[in-house]
Symmetry: D3
Subunit: 203 residues, 6 copies
């Protein structure tokens, strides 16, 4: 199997205690360690800052639901062709939205996804921040306010988009590999029999 990252991946036992605890907590909750934790642990200080930032944006309270924040991640990561982020956050989006189709829709073309007009406006703005932030201006804020977003919500949209602009680049230059577990997560009702090499049903 291909490696998790083109850089060395430390063993849990060799990591500083705070990083180890953080990883063990995730493992307990998710049932596995998402590879981004292992790949970034190669640089402990950057690991700490990365996840502090991530949590500040993705776990906070606010006008955006957690599913909406994941929509932003998936839409912008798809535009940036970040395999890790599309696969991993696609899984989280399915779980958060309790919708097995939404991630594939948003990744392929968010304009065709089963989302509300307000969410469409949110994603249009997130994409502008991701791809042409230099052109963001007052008009964009006006448009979002008309959809009911407050200025703090707009900060959230932009900041999530900006954070994953960084994330996507980190994953792409390290060739970070998504865990197999993500592919089926949120797609089926139960652990079931998700074959890593599924025999295709007859067609």
């Amino acid at each position: 199997m291909k490696p998790i990252s083109r850089y060395p991946v430390p063993k849990l036992a060799d990591l500083p205690q705070d990083i180890r605890s953080r990883i063990e907590a995730v493992q307990e909750k998710a049932g596995f360690v998402p590879n981004v934790f292992l790949a970034l642990a190669h640089r402990p200080d950057e690991f700490r800052a990365f996840f502090a930032y991530h949590d500040a944006l993705m776990d906070k309270q606010g006008g955006l639901t957690k599913a909406e924040r994941e929509m932003i991640v998936v839409a912008t990561s798809a535009a940036n062709q970040c395999q890790y982020c599309v696969v991993a956050h696609g899984a989280i989006l399915r779980v958060r939205a309790k919708d097995p189709h939404i991630a594939d829709q948003v990744a392929a073309n968010y304009r065709k996804a089963d989302i509300t007009p307000k969410q469409r406006a949110m994603l249009d703005f997130a994409m502008k921040v991701s791809r042409q932030a230099e052109e963001v201006g007052d008009d964009d804020f006006e448009r979002l306010r008309k959809h009911g977003f407050g200025d703090e919500d707009i900060w959230d949209i932009a900041a999530v988009s900006a954070f994953f602009a960084m994330s996507n680049r980190l994953a792409n230059f390290t060739t970070m590999r998504p865990n197999d577990e993500f592919y089926l997560m949120g797609r089926v009702a139960a652990p079931a029999a998700p074959a890593p090499r599924a025999e295709p049903a007859a067609r």
Copy 2:
């Protein structure tokens, strides 16, 4: 639920017999009617030409495996942001390749997918045909020949890429909707118990 197409979708009973037979054959084999058949049936002559072309390229014998042809479809359709094609042909790719992860990998960033160097060269060329065909030249043919592709294989790669350049545009302007069945196809070993609120993957 959102409609299959922004254009009227004919009833099976109202269709010319040849089109109806074609659709019924697909339905029998797949267990459902992929929406592209219904959406394009709005224009019977175009339907006939479209599927004749499709079959000439996708069902023929040749140097490319069926899975490889689907890889081309998924990679170029992702670049063209065609939701229908990524979701539907992603399913077919999983089935053909007997690999539950390959389609999501190729759609997100084919350069990071679990494919051979020869397949990488195939997709690099398919993407060039899809996005900058005007720059295709002798160098591209040389590169592919070095990977062991014959000139007829190269035609196949280019023609599949070109055909889906058309297909992607048809699906995008009609807002063609992928069937729910596609999302889980090729991902799980058996019909099993699908996800929360998921449309059942009856197959």
Copy 3:
């Protein structure tokens, strides 16, 4: 002289009867065999589907005149830098529109061509389908309806644009060469003395 295609071109005598008949009919009408017929005859099944599709779109009745359909071909083929399509369909456009200048205008910059505002809207949409189909949405349909286009007309515009997105790529990867006959067609009042190596007119 450079070859018609970088692939082998079959002799008429070696072709299946239906393809041969089709080619002979064109030859009788046009006075020569357009190279696209010979280049694509290398793949009989694809040839049949290609021309069936072409005729379904270009020869049908409908709200768009034949000249308007050719305008779409020339504008989008110029954007895709398809030499064969610009030269060959430029000729057909001149003939259909009975206007010796229109093709060169549309190919260079359709926004400056001698066309109606309705035709400008048609070409704006055709170009969007050709270059950013993923962004086509309800607004585009509204704009066209305001210019008097019905939804079936809009399908025609989009489908012609999509078909030539394929065509342009086929011509570019095969390096398909336009026949000399096309260059002067529709430019002069009579067969006259169109020198293949014309001595320049006085200047």
Copy 4:
């Protein structure tokens, strides 16, 4: 008929004597006044500088033939979608190259035109200057020297490309209209009967 320019076009009689003489000389030689002379005469000082620059580049002796300089104009003007320049300089290219097809080939896709490998290298460089001059570097000079271009030739290629980068923009913002005379120039052996509304040739 549409105007020559969206700006006022002065009468010959109202122009300063030097500009008038220049225009009359062109008229005598070409048989008509190319519209660029009339459109730019709206600004006499700019007119003088423009044509002084033009002549310094296009009429000079040097390693490039006059036809080659016109190839550069046609290829870069097509990329910049300048209708005036493609039509007018397309005509001059046909005359200079004594080739009725070359201009349409170069305008559509210069990579497919009937030109030498050295001319292809020339146009590749001219296009880089036109579209990504910021990336021009030593490698480009090396490549051209290998094809036999001297450094003064390279200056000529780049300067012609740069001058028409300006020209194309002037023509586009003024909506400068090419004279009808250009369309047929260099295409037919003799003045003949070039119908302004040509009846289509038999097809």
Copy 5:
């Protein structure tokens, strides 16, 4: 130190008298010879036309202030990544506008610069001429007229943008080097004792 240009730079004494006089006049006024004069003197006829054009656009009377014309130069040259033009005309802009910050602001992102809404509209249009002149149309003229620009002002904006489209390309292919003097010009109140050879303009 790196050379002024990748081409030979003539000695003043070897230049034709008119060019020499022109250069000496600049030197007397500015305190040094801007390198563009030396680099272009390699081609005397082009030198003459270039500066005649430059002066016709930059020194003329009209609705745009000299500072505004320099804003156009700096904004479009930054987009074209022209080091010489950004550094040299950045200096002139600071001097003309009597503002030590304006050039760096306009070069980095003119949308964020301390300029008026009318100047913003001016730069939006200049950038469109510089980057997508083929799309300039009546709407652009309407927008500028609403901001109080007359049609002759619009010509000025477009012509300055077009002239520097050429200039930027000349500087980039010759690797023209900005004089050290420009970097500090217009930034400090007095000659002072500062950086190497800086020749601050009065402020």
Copy 6:
């Protein structure tokens, strides 16, 4: 004067103690508070993570000099049109490199800057991470290793580029304003008597 950010900027006295201490330390060292500290203090948790990340990348030991890291910031921020980052980090680059010209050169076109071939390779890679990270591959690593960069250096280059991909977007959506002090910093030898409010750092 225009505001520092389009969002509210907290007073120092109202900030959590750790943030206040951090800001006061910077103020003591630099002589003023860079606006990024005030703008981001609107979100204390994001502030903490942002600066922890920043310091982990910019203040660490390693194969890249501090000046080289700032070159990466300036080059990529210019491409992203981030006014705050170009002006502020341009200042820091001048100070770190003890070169009053380097920042303006790198911002305008780093390919023309007075840097070593190794630094040019570094910036080529940083730009690829910033603009097309999805295409980064083994070849890029090989190229950098040939220039003497180790894999940890390459991580540093990529991570700085990625971090400022985020930073640039944050500054652009908040319309973050660079302090006046940055414009002259590193340009003049001594505090002197320079332009309004300029506060040069020691050099």
